[in-house]
């Protein structure tokens, strides 16, 4: 177990430790020969702005992906129509497409749209959002479908028998029960969107550049420890989010959504 945790956390320790190495150097230096918080104070403003954009984009992506995934999951699990399996496969198809191909495809689509109707979403927040929703909806669909398949429909029947309308039944009975699946789907969509590079590389522009694209652009050419400093801060933020998530919702809820246990 110690070896496993060591294997998992060693890279994070190296990143955090190297971020404390003082002095100008174009390479990672671990262990640091001189400790300093110098690079934390030299994080460029554009990294902070891009982090804000990435958080906003990832949050919006999670919401939009769920808005599509929940009704789709209800239709796939409960619907009885010809071609249901084909529709399910089609909705999961984005998982099979390399992200860079998605990026190029969306770029071409946007230029074609611009030529046809004069609206080109490339370089705009909505353009990035559409691309990320395409990528992440299958993840949300997967988790919501998993909990819906284990859902005991007698609970809904009981509510209807007692006079609840279909909407009230959904809101007061179905939704709370499938909420772990929704939270899991939202988390996966957020994580995928936040860390995504290939699609954002093609669809971003200088005004709309996500944090991974900024990092990628910087690392392609050179390196300085401010990249490690900002990565360490992101790591600490992620840990804080997990702690808050555990306190409010509980990590167990996420595990139940993806395991084989009844809610």
């Amino acid at each position: 177990m110690i070896a496993l945790y060591g294997f998992l956390f060693a890279p994070l320790v190296v990143v955090a430790g190297a971020s404390l190495a003082g002095g100008e150097r174009p390479y990672v230096s671990f262990p640091p020969d001189r400790l300093s918080f110098e690079w934390y104070g030299r994080i460029p403003a554009r990294y902070v702005e891009s982090i804000g954009l990435s958080v906003l984009l990832a949050g919006a992506t999670a919401v939009c992906a769920l808005a599509l995934a929940v009704p789709a999951a209800l239709g796939l699990v409960r619907g009885r129509f010809a071609g249901r399996e084909a529709v399910a496969l089609f909705l999961r198809a984005p998982l099979q497409i390399p992200f860079i191909v998605v990026g190029i495809a969306f770029l071409q689509l946007y230029y074609a749209l611009g030529a046809a109707v004069g609206i080109n979403p490339r370089g705009r927040f909505v353009g990035l959002l559409l691309g990320h929703v395409f990528l992440t909806t299958p993840y949300a669909l997967g988790t919501v479908t998993a909990v819906l398949q284990r859902f005991n429909r007698r609970l809904e029947e009981a509510a209807r028998t007692l006079g609840a309308t279909p909407w009230r039944t959904f809101r007061r009975v179905t939704l709370p029960v499938i909420m772990p699946g929704i939270y899991a789907g939202a988390l996966y969509a957020f994580i995928v969107s936040f860390g995504e590079v290939p699609v954002a590389l093609f669809l971003a522009n200088p005004r709309v550049a996500t944090f991974p694209v900024e990092l990628f652009g910087a690392l392609q050419f050179d390196f300085n420890p401010s990249l490690l400093a900002v990565s360490t801060l992101i790591l600490c933020l992620s840990l804080a989010i997990i702690v808050v998530f555990q306190r409010i919702i509980g990590i167990d809820a996420l595990l139940r959504a993806t395991a084989g246990r009844d809610p």
Binding site: P26, Y27, Q108, A115, L201, E214, G217, L219, Q220, F223
Partner: protein, 349 residues
Amino acid sequence: MTQTFRRWIGALLLAGAALAIVGPATAEERFDGVTIRVATWGGSWRDRIHELIGTELERRGAKVEYVVANALENFNKLIAARDSKPPFDVMEFQSDLWKPLLESGFLMKLTNADIPNAPTHDSVAVSTWTLEEGIVYNTEKFKENGLPAPQRYSDLLDPKLANRVAWPDISYGPYALIGLSTEFGGSELDVDPGLARLKQAALPYFYRSSVELSTKFASGDVWVAPWHAGWAVRVKRAGLPVAMVFPQVKDRHGVIASGMIGIVKDTEVEKAAAFWINRYLSPEVQLAFCSANGIAPVNPHALETMRGDPLLSSLMLLSPADIAKAYAVDWNRIDLADIVDKWNRTTAK
């Protein structure tokens, strides 16, 4: 002469003097309301470009945006945007993209562009700097192990250096492969001799990222690598004990590649773009930018000034004669796609 007349003459003279003082200041070119988009590399490269050129344009009223990616990715963006508004106005690239860009027609001819700092500009791009490729090695490690300094690319295939050599992946560029091939009768048109030697040597590590290589140099995992002088300058400034060798390639020493810049066709900010290029080629910008990045300027005054820097002189070719003696790849004849294909079939693991 009446007093009134003298007063009028005096007033006219004063007005003329005022115009003479104020006149040149109002002649400064302004770019109010102009947004110029520059496609260039990221990191400190973009930061320095902005500090030296971008801030001057901003001072003159322009807004500057950077499309940061490697040149090939930016070229792909131009292709995707064909028949639409181009995604940027000015593009930096290296000479390996010269032929595709020339044939694609994406860049405008600079004949009528206002670039007085460029000696000639009758093509679609001008050279801005020279990248110098050679061999970088750790002098301390070589001395400790009693190894002679490498002189040729084939010296790196010595079994004594087996686990201490980093050879560049083809994605870095074909310079080292071309250099190795010329030692065995090949050239940029025939890299088979070099590929055969690399396959035979079975080197364990091919680097794709200079950042990764600099970390391996710092940790002592790598002692020697074909690399360019810019990185040698950077790691030496960080304290690593490195030296640079420009190996013989046919009857030349070292391999050079050019940095180039062009204006994208159908740009709406042609004047600002021309200003950008002209400023890039000014002596002060050439000196500051090229000294920081370990590349040779095209401006002769800047080149001469850099020769006075001991660190730069020890790692770079800084005289016109030495640069002229370096091997320049003929990008008009080379088939890079074929070289990449052969590389993938021969050395990819």
